[in-house]
């Protein structure tokens, strides 16, 4: 009495949207090209210094020796750079999340005079290249006595227009006006509404923003290079010191350094890849 399972009919046009083997092939090839340089740098990090240029790319057994030697390089102060990078990236990330959700909430859900003009201003700030102001910014840091200190690479990045805009866009759709109204009727001040209602609702988007800001701050190169000294390096600064000069470079140690500087981000990416990808895709559609 078993009737055959109903034949599922394809939606019209579904075939059009199925990836062909050729599509897979192209995308897999693209992925391989993407990943290869990273893998290759890890391979070199495991080799003996005499075998840097040896082909084909097969790993050696010197990884831990190379890491040891790289860490022993006192000029590069790699461990110190790692710690500094963790501190700088964490502080900047938390601050950007806090101020972005706060301002994003205000722009999305509160009525105040001039809000549209102010929002436009924030969008425009995203277009200003920071590099343009780098010389005066440096002179300001000299004036403040901040050169060579971590404040110099933290404070200028505590707020970022991109974050405000992203949180505003998310708050627009994720938080209903009724919810805020209800909280107000219960006697919540605006601050309590933000803290108890809005912030929890923004958490998923704030997490994505945090990931993007963390990675961006971790990878920041030019400004730390300008304003810091070898006494307070970030991890990128340490890499720069390790790589200076084409002749005396200890290549395999340098690659052990690049591997260690990249590894934390790879781990974050492997765990949160889906969210990061969603964040990149969202961020642009709406702008």
């Amino acid at each position: 009495m078993s009737s055959p399972p109903p034949r599922r009919r394809r939606a019209p046009g579904a075939r059009l949207w199925e990836a062909s083997p050729l599509t897979y092939l192209a995308l897999i090839l693209g992925s391989v090209l993407s990943i290869f340089p990273i893998v290759w740098s890890f391979i070199i990090a495991s080799r003996d210094n005499g075998a840097v240029y040896e082909m084909p790319p097969t790993p050696g057994g010197e990884l831990f020796n190379n890491i040891d030697r790289m860490l022993a390089n006192e000029d590069a102060a790699f461990v110190y750079g790692l710690v500094n990078s963790v501190v700088v990236s964490s502080v900047v990330t938390i601050s950007v999340i806090f101020f972005s959700t706060l301002a994003g909430f205000a722009f999305a859900k509160l009525k105040f005079r001039g809000s549209n003009a102010l929002l436009l201003l924030i969008i425009l700030t995203m277009m200003v290249p920071t590099q343009l102001g780098i010389i005066p910014l440096y002179l300001m840091m000299v004036e403040f006595g901040w050169t060579g200190t971590l404040q110099a690479v933290i404070v200028p990045f505590l707020v970022q227009g991109f974050g405000v805009f992203m949180m505003r866009q998310y708050a627009m759709s994720a938080i209903s006006d009724e919810l805020i109204e209800a909280a107000r009727l219960d006697g919540c001040s605006t601050w309590r509404v933000y803290w108890n209602v809005v912030l929890p609702a923004l958490r998923p988007a704030a997490a994505v923003l945090g990931l993007l800001i963390f990675m961006q701050t971790w990878n920041e190169f030019l400004w730390p290079f300008v304003v810091l000294t070898p006494d307070t390096p970030t991890v990128q600064y340490s890499l720069k010191i390790l790589s200076s000069g084409p002749y005396q470079t200890d290549y395999v140690a340098l690659f052990a350094g690049t591997a260690l500087a990249t590894l934390p981000l790879l781990v974050v990416f492997i765990i949160f890849g889906r969210q990061i990808i969603g964040g990149i895709m969202e961020g642009a559609v709406k702008s």
Binding site: G13, A14, W17, E18, T23, L27, I28, G30, S31, V32, L33, S34, P37, I38, I44, V52, M55, L102, A103, L110, F112, L118, T125, V128, P129, Q131, L132, G133, I134, I135, P136, L137, Y138, L139, M140, V159, G161, T190, W191, M215, F221, L222, V226, L239, K240, S243, G245, P246, T249, T258, L265, L266, V268, G273, R274, I276, I277, I280, M281, S287
Partner: protein, 327 residues
Amino acid sequence: MSSAVGAAPPRHAATPSPSDPVHRRRSYRLGRWDIKYSPYLYVAPFFVLFGIFGLFPVLYTVWVSLFEYDLLSDTKEFVGMENYRVVLGDAQFWNAAYNTVGMFVVSTVPQLIVALMIANLLNRQMRARTLLRMGIVIPNITSVAAVGIIFALIFADRYGLVNWVLGTVGIDPIAWRDNRYASWFAIATMVDWRWTGYNALIYLGAMQAIPKDLYESAALDGASTWRQFWKITVPLIRPTILFTIIISTIGGLQLFTEPLMYGYGLIRGGASNEFQTLAMYIYERTFTGNFEYGSGAAMSWLLFLMIIVFALINFALVRRSVKGEKK
């Protein structure tokens, strides 16, 4: 809230109950103040901090560019447009400008075209979707400094990976640093490797907002997938394409870390500045040797003008060409 029923403990007497008319008026006023003015408090930190560390330095750059700094005597002298005159007459400035624009064009054009193609491929039903997307975008999360170091070795002049591959097919090794255009190509490869996947994801995000029935009716009319791509996809994601072009222009003309690390961390960018960019030259003039803040600021300002001009040109070009498609 203290209860109004019964005798309130004396300590609470000071806190008026909500029914107390004085308190009610005050809390009403407080509430109105809260609703009316607190939004400004919430957006103020952004504007204050951005004003100090973002906007002010950019504007101050103009002012700094009008002075000649003397760090030895710790003085500065107003020289007006002199810095601009010197910079515009400086061959190394023009060399750096040429390199910057060249590398920008060589890297951005293929980057955005390939990104469009990849996004089009990703915009289908497929297995392992997230994995493939991750594979494409992974270069973007690596640090630029590390990427520069890795590619410096891939394009090493004598024993690099690329020259080895060329050698196996019988092509003579290429001097990836001494030849200007070869070095541009190597650096563009590095930039493209890092950003193509990122742009593809941005395009993909926009493509997914296009209603599928548009394609279905086009397919019924006999339009090939290629035609559909050019006649439906590209025109409909035009705003996103413009966005990526503006972002690539801002980023591309400020190229610094990649060529620096490619040149083994040396600010000169090759023996005869074959791949020194404007950002590198600004750094060289400003933060090494003579600390010429005035010239550096003048160059920063010229670079900014260049970015605006290129952004506008690109904007106009793309708007027109994509509009033409619609006809």
